[in-house]
Amino acid sequence: MRDLMDKVKKNVIWKSIFRRDYKENVRDRAVAIFGNVFLHLHPVQVRESAVKLRYTWGMGGITFLAFIVLVITGVVLMFYYHPSVDQAYDDIKDLEYQVPYGVILRNLHRWAAHFMVIVVMIHMFRVFMTGSYKAPRQFNWVIGVILLVLTLLLSFTGYLTPWDQLGYWAIVVGTNMGAATPLLGFEGPFSEYFGITAYNDVRFALLGGTQVGGNALLRSYIWHCVALPLLSIILMFVHFWRVRKDGGISRPQ
């Protein structure tokens, strides 16, 4: 067994990829984390008290786990989905009844989405209760609030993609709320003074028209699959990096 491991590990290829072993000493472990592109956002070392689950509940990390699950299942779902009025609903039915493992993929995506919204709120609650929004972490709290809004927007835009009654009316109601917003929507206060009509308000930009139709489906699909995840990933990098720079994960004093 040891011979086999030596054969695998003691050669140029293995060493060119991994450089160092993850040995039982502080220095080698630190260097291993330092030299890994995926782990280098993470602090090289964490205090023992920082991993106490009773304090952080691990909710931020679990939110990130849910996001990773969503990205993976989402990308796979995209292989069978057409964002068009004629095909969207049938594609979902196809995924549920015909595509191999389609039903578990779709449900994983759906449940992970619900899970992420719940967990991100618990994360926010924990940060609030432990006072982890206080100096020097104020900026990271703001980033976190934006990430919460992005999570909700991702949920909302994903709602329309099956093109079923539930999602359709949710988008009708949601964008009508936009239309009723002061200064942004044509049905909101002051719209007549600023010449805001159904053809130049925020609802028009969201739907790509005045009705929830093909343009709206395509737009919500692009926001859901490309634009919002990209923004979220960028802000997540800032969020994680700032946790480390602002004194590491919060822990009992």
Partner: protein, 190 residues
């Protein structure tokens, strides 16, 4: 030793002609500052215009939506006291003929949150499936969370004798008011 001398000489020079030199450097910095600011103004201006263009991009010029003015048929096609839902799906409009023969066109949009109510022929009312708002045939709300009667569109007769609905002219329902009395011009007598 030599170096030291040079330094002191320079120092002396600056001391002796301090005022004009200072003015000169200030002028030099002024130009540099100006160019610097112009450069940044250019960059910021460019990016702002790009941002505006990006926002404008989300507002399409051409829409592939049904026209806002459309013909619905001849008055004789509509029996009195009935709600015609034929144009609900495409145009979001009901053509309604009252018992006395007068016509009006109503937007099939609940005034609560914008869902599409359905005409319940047996119960003689519009019922919204979303949150249960109910309306009489005139569009007056009487149950559920709807805050006001449903809106009407202008309906008139075209030259060929067909009824024409113009969705750009809207009669917005006023809370607690029957639109028949509020907007007599929304009714068409043939």
């Amino acid at each position: 030793m030599q170096e030291k001398e040079v330094i002191t000489e320079e120092h002396k020079e600056t001391q002796s002609s301090e005022k004009p030199k200072k003015a000169e450097t200030e002028e030099l910095m002024g130009r540099r500052k100006l160019l610097n600011r112009l450069g940044w103004a250019g960059v910021i201006g460019f990016l702002s215009i790009n941002t505006l263009a990006f926002l404008r991009f989300f507002y399409p010029r051409v829409l592939f939506e049904p026209p806002t003015k459309f013909k619905v048929g001849f008055p004789s096609d509509f029996p009195p006291g009935e709600v015609n839902s034929e144009f609900q799906k495409e145009f979001g409009t009901w053509i309604i003929r009252l018992d006395d023969g007068r016509f009006f066109a109503m937007e099939s949009k609940c005034t609560h949150l914008g869902c599409t109510p359905s005409w319940m022929g047996a119960q003689k009312k519009f019922k919204c499936p979303c949150h249960g708002s109910g309306y009489y045939i005139t569009g007056l709300n009487f149950e559920g969370p709807a805050p006001r009667p449903m809106d009407r569109f202008k309906i008139s007769l075209a030259e060929d004798g067909q009824l024409v609905v113009d969705k750009t002219i809207k009669f917005a329902g006023v809370p607690g008011k029957d639109s028949n009395e509020q907007y007599p011009q929304s009714l068409l007598k043939v």
